[in-house]
């Protein structure tokens, strides 16, 4: 690989890394024809992990980091002095194919700074995806970032080539968006999300084999945590609304991360990364565990989630009258609320108790650890008696502080 291309790759990968989404999941099972390349499995594969612990699944790059927008939170805003570069369409195609052949990646995640106009930029991105599919017979994963200000017919085209589309909301409220991202407007973001959501739903309902698929892996979005004053409860309410209204596959929460050339409009220090983690846990709770957003928020204080313990445990500690729950009798909804029992553990318990009566040891074999579960359940040979009501239960269950590591 020549030095000029390597330089572009360095700049344009660095410029793209603040997008948290890297998933290659959600695509239908698919494989290339005999002369093509690539497959998707539905679950996605992480091909490497960097020292930040995040997965590398897709070649996540910008087509260019030249940008006419001036969003305060973004390293590529026009008023930043960051080093700039621009890929040619063919260079992105070649990098994707050569990386894919060596099994480095599941596919491409392409975003871009806005050059000339939203339409022009979107057309260039679509061209990359179309060349991969048509000229290279590429059946791997493609995620395209949609530019909400682009003409609607371009969004229709993007969905024909991409597995997933996404528009980043970035800031959860209209006021923040106005203050930090003057060229963006929330009306065009919601309009484009609505258009994509509608088309994704229609395409999924389509019975005919011949009908062309539209973004079969759905759409996702990202919100930045800790750049503005929005609290966790409002953040989660925004997410819940997005999942409902636009059939989103995922909302990504990205803790605001200090960037080189930061704008003075932003806080200098990042929020604790744990906050991002707690939001993901809460997100899971309302999507898969039957919790309502305000129930989750009630586990914390003042609209912020508890940073020390996970939101399910926090809720349980404040609702001790709902426990203990009998693993041999309780319905699925009640079991899903037990701290330490995941969806899979609950399903295993329900299947097993049809044929056997479960003791504490039996529960231990289907879940990840008894310590957190024990105070909240009843088993054939186990009652927590006073344990559920102990005043120091929180201290006993909260993770012990670990010594900070030096490197």
């Amino acid at each position: 690989m020549d030095e000029a291309l390597n330089r572009k790759l360095r700049i344009l990968a660095d410029a793209a890394k603040y997008d948290a989404s890297c998933a290659s999941a959600g695509a239908k099972k698919r494989k290339a024809g005999p002369n093509g390349l690539g497959s998707t499995s539905g679950n996605g594969i992480c091909h490497a992990y960097t020292p930040d612990g995040r997965c590398v699944s897709l070649l996540k790059i910008l087509l260019t980091n030249y940008c006419l927008y001036d969003c305060a939170y973004c390293i590529n805003r026009r008023s930043s002095n960051v080093e700039r570069a621009r890929f040619a369409v063919n260079e992105v195609v070649r990098l994707t194919i050569e990386f894919y052949k060596r099994n480095y990646i599941e596919g491409l995640f392409l975003s871009s700074g806005i050059i000339r106009s939203a339409d022009y930029t979107m057309e260039q991105m679509i061209l990359v995806a179309k060349k991969l599919r048509k000229d290279e017979g590429f059946a791997g994963y493609i995620h395209l970032k949609t530019i909400p200000e682009a003409s609607p017919w371009l969004i229709e085209q993007a969905g024909l080539w991409a597995d997933r589309l996404s528009i980043n909301l970035e800031l959860p409220t209209q006021e923040s968006l106005k203050a930090y991202a003057p060229e963006k407007d929330s009306a065009s973001i919601t309009r484009a999300m609505g258009q994509m959501g509608e088309r994704i739903a229609e395409s999924r309902a389509e019975k005919s084999r011949h009908a062309r698929k539209f973004a079969p892996a759905g759409q996702s979005t990202q919100v930045i945590v800790g750049a503005d004053a929005t609290n966790d409860a409002d953040m989660l309410a925004t997410s819940a609304r997005l999942y409902d209204s636009y059939a989103l596959s995922r909302v990504y929460y990205s803790a605001f991360s200090p960037i080189p050339e930061a704008s003075s409009a932003l806080p200098a220090k990042p929020p604790p990364l744990q906050r991002e983690n707690r939001l993901y846990q809460a997100d899971w709770l309302f999507r898969y565990y039957g919790f309502a957003v305000d129930e989750i928020a009630s586990g914390g204080e003042g609209g912020m989630l508890d940073l020390e313990i996970d939101p399910k445990l926090a809720w349980a500690l404040k609702n001790r009258d709902r426990f203990p729950v009998d693993v041999n009798m309780a319905d699925r909804e009640a079991l899903l609320r037990v701290p330490g029992l995941g969806v899979r553990a609950v399903d295993r318990i329900i299947a097993a108790r049809r044929h056997a009566t479960l003791r504490l040891d039996d529960v231990a074999r289907v879940c990840a650890g008894l310590k957190r579960v024990r105070p909240f359940i009843i088993a054939a040979d186990w009652r927590p008696t006073a344990e559920t009501d102990r005043a120091d239960l929180r201290q006993r269950l909260a993770p012990q502080p670990t010594q900070l590591s030096l490197f």
Binding site: M1, P51, L68, R78, E261
Partner: protein, 481 residues
């Protein structure tokens, strides 16, 4: 087979699924309890011989029926490196099928010790498979005889190479590749898969021209402000690192991370040095077509949203007309000639227009869907109705087109056109006649598509429907008069 005697079963090394399945059938039909069986396997995996039991076991037993979940569990656990696997699997099958007190649903009791152990073994194999899919790294070599070939060296924990082969075949059908492991090798020549003997690291190439780029990517996509080594090690355990070229960058990345973050936080944003693209920012808003001709260029250039012809049939007629007619989509003739309403339905439409006293050349005529959607049957191209999603794909263009054309009255010919103009499905039967379309309250009219007249079952029906259509057109003529 004597059900009371102790049995010794010798299977091949590695993952001998075939041998185990055969033994399972014979032992299970003979009702031999698990504690009477002594399982052993050859030390070296034998990837060439099929599992063969001594002839004294008699002919292979007939198949036994097991729940799908158990069959899947066996397939995975047989790959495990623990030689105990066969004894544990047989114990499960025995307990599920023994003549006295069979535990028919044992596999569903995840809390049972044996089931928990087998589930954990299957999980370990599944993880190994997943890591192999993820962490195989091919390097390109130029073989003077076959051209480029992609070769990888990988060290799996379990005997998974046969189980994983299909994944790589599906993914890389059009390239020559080989995966070498200490437990056997896979070879693909673009048409056949071969399973070969174990390889060594020295057999695999040491260099690949794209690894520089891959390492650049790995380094650049790392965010030093989020360093989290435990999480990295949890997902990418150190035992894999020596075969992953990118991991050479880790020590340096970790070492520099803290100082990079400090610098970012300390460094104030500098005033932009030279870029102030005020003109470009102002020009950014002027996107999208400025005229009907420009829009038509965009449509003509774009890929079709339907399976069929790639030729876009554009609207035709004067700007600011009294009437714009919107049909469904071009048909065979329209696609060949590149003009709307020129096929059999178009000719019928012309006749009806003339009878109603409307001059076609003074009206604007277009379609909701701009491409001919069809399936090929022999030499014929059979028209296919557009789906709701397809109509909506084209809807933005139609809206923009009518914005430029600005007709006084828009006439939807048929349900697809009405759907496109309304934004949702409308039945002709309920909405035929004068209609206001959304947007700025576009005055409109809904009637049938002329092709529906051609599909009437009897000449009488056809006559009646044609007359009704002409009456609609006459009504339209009066509306704009």
């Amino acid at each position: 087979m004597d059900p009371t005697a102790h049995q010794h079963i010798q299977l091949n090394g590695g993952a001998d699924l075939q041998g185990f399945r055969q033994a399972l059938r014979i032992l299970s039909w003979s009702n031999i309890p698990n504690h009477q069986i002594n399982w052993s396997a050859n030390t070296a995996p034998d990837l060439f011989g099929g599992g063969q039991l001594p002839s004294s076991y008699g002919a292979a037993g007939k198949p036994i029926i097991l729940p799908r979940a158990v069959a899947d569990l066996i397939r995975l656990v047989v790959c495990h490196s623990d030689p105990e696997k066969y004894a544990l699997l047989y114990e499960l099958v025995w307990r599920m099928r023994r003549p006295k007190n069979p535990e028919t649903h044992l596999h569903e009791v995840a809390s049972d010790k044996l089931v928990a152990k087998l589930t954990a073994m299957a999980k370990s194999v599944r993880r190994d498979l997943h890591k192999m899919h993820a962490f195989v790294r091919f390097r390109e070599v130029n073989d003077p005889e076959i051209g480029p070939r992609f070769v990888a060296w990988f060290e799996p924990d379990h005997f998974i190479i046969e189980e994983t082969a299909q994944f790589f075949v599906d993914r890389f059908p059009s390239i020559d590749w080989a995966i070498l492991t200490p437990k056997g090798s896979l070879w693909w020549d673009k048409s056949e898969l071969a399973i070969g003997p174990p390889g060594t690291r020295a057999d695999a190439p040491e260099f690949d021209a794209f690894e520089i780029g891959w390492r650049t990517y790995y380094e650049s996509t790392f965010n030093p402000a989020r360093t989290n080594l435990n999480q990295m090690r949890q997902h990418m355990p150190k035992k894999y690192w020596r075969n992953l070229p990118e991991t050479q960058a880790i020590p340096q990345l970790v070492h520099a991370a803290a100082s990079r973050v400090d610098r970012m936080i300390e460094q104030e944003a500098a005033i932009p040095v030279k870029r102030n693209p005020a003109k470009a920012v102002a020009a950014m808003a002027e996107q999208g077509p400025a005229s009907l001709a420009e829009l038509n260029q965009i449509i003509a250039k774009a890929d079709p949203f339907v399976e069929g012809s790639a030729r876009a049939v554009l609207g035709e007629g004067p700007i600011h007309p009294a009437i714009a007619f919107v049909g469904e989509q071009p048909g065979d003739q329209e696609d060949l000639q590149g003009r709307p309403f020129v096929g059999p339905a178009g000719q019928l439409f012309d006749r009806a227009l003339e009878q109603a006293g409307i001059d076609r050349t003074k009206a604007y005529i277009t379609n909701a869907v701009k491409h001919f959607k069809f399936v090929q049957r022999g030499k014929r191209r059979i028209h296919q109705s557009p789906t709701a999603g397809e109509i909506k794909h084209y809807r933005w263009w139609l809206q923009k087109e009518l914005d430029f054309v600005q007709p006084r009255l828009v006439v939807a010919l048929g349900a697809s056109a009405a759907h496109a103009l309304e934004g949702k499905a409308l039945t002709i039967r309920d909405h035929r006649g004068v209609h206001t379309f959304p947007g700025e309250g576009q005055a409109g009219f809904i009637t049938v598509h002329p092709s529906s007249l051609l599909r009437q079952p009897t000449p009488d029906d056809r006559e009646r429907e044609y007359a009704a259509f002409v009456r609609d057109l006459a009504c339209i003529r009066d509306l704009i008069a």
